[in-house]
């Protein structure tokens, strides 16, 4: 999204993650206009430092479902970010929070669908 000209700010508790952001880039992350903040999403100070107050979209995609659900709701309710997306691995909770008005992406659901269609497409066709 950075390469499309959007302003992108990343928040991560591990300073090392910055290195990963630059893999495959010919310039530094900041040189390309990106922002990087070290902190956890439950600290509102860190969210503000990362620029949540002026964000048009907020994506909660840490490796913890619970963290993502909580932070996404903070972004939605407290900072009123117009577009909020949460990554939720647990399909049951992803579905329930979607019904509650949260935009959720469930990688498990997506993988199941893909695997299922791969199986169907890969199965020998019935010859009539």
């Amino acid at each position: 999204m950075l390469s499309e000209g959007h302003e992108v700010s990343c928040l991560d508790e591990d300073p090392e993650s910055h290195t990963r952001l630059e893999v495959g880039l010919d310039k530094g992350w900041e040189d390309l206009g990106g922002r990087f903040t070290v902190g956890t999403g439950l600290e509102t100070d860190a969210l503000v430092a990362a620029g949540i107050e002026t964000a048009d979209a907020f994506i909660a995609a840490t490796n913890g479902d619970n963290t993502n659900i909580v932070i996404a709701q903070i972004a939605q309710r407290r900072y009123e970010v117009p577009t909020v997306i949460a990554r939720i691995l647990d399909p049951l909770r992803a579905e329930w929070y979607r019904q509650q008005g949260l935009n959720t992406i469930c990688p498990t659901r997506v993988a199941i669908d893909m695997l299922e269609s791969a199986v169907r497409e890969g199965a020998p066709r019935e010859v009539v």
Binding site: L42, E43, T44, G64, D65, N66, T67, I69, V70, Q73, I74, R77, R78, D90, L92, R93, W96, Q100
Partner: protein, 226 residues
Amino acid sequence: MYIIVVGAGKVGWNLARELLEKNHEVTVIESNRRRYLTVEQELEHNVTYGDASELWVLERAGIQRADMVIAVTGDDEDNMLICQVAKEKYEVKQIIARVNNPRNRPHFDLLGVKPSVSATDLILRLLEHEVPEYGLVHLLDLQEEQLEIIEMLLGKDSRVTGRRVGDLSMPEGSLLISVLREGKGFVPNADTVLEVGDEVLAVLDPGREDDLKELFGPASGGNGTG
């Protein structure tokens, strides 16, 4: 009552014991296998193994018919979300959540998880109560009802000692409800004269503490310790 307790740590285990003694029906949910096996030796069928963040675990524990869900794990996010789904998805009437890090308290409120209990806050309250230098002690905070009850110890340099209650111009939204003198409490009337060493209780709208401190505090300001 049927009560689900999430987390079988020291808090959850002892809580479950007390509730069982009071003849409530209790299910404790614990996600750590070893801890579960330890607790199970005593609580037997009243403890179940699983991650209560997952809806099916809650359903297996019978959340649909639970009267109360108490989340006391060591993880604030777990406690918040378990109580949120208990209240909003399963329409459990009463929820109680434990706050581990007091800085997370606003998040509990934001998600509608009330009441929440923080040990750190409780100790702070106790500290305020035990250390009179603080001057003003919060006895009760009813956030929903927008009411507070506070206690003030009148020191030598208080502005109101020797004055009639009827002559005090109490700030709007506050009311003097009780005076504790020499270990006895009574409801003051307009002719009650306040004395040094009195502990006065007042009920007030939130945010009026400063007005009361101003009225009851030391005449000189400064750091009078009463």
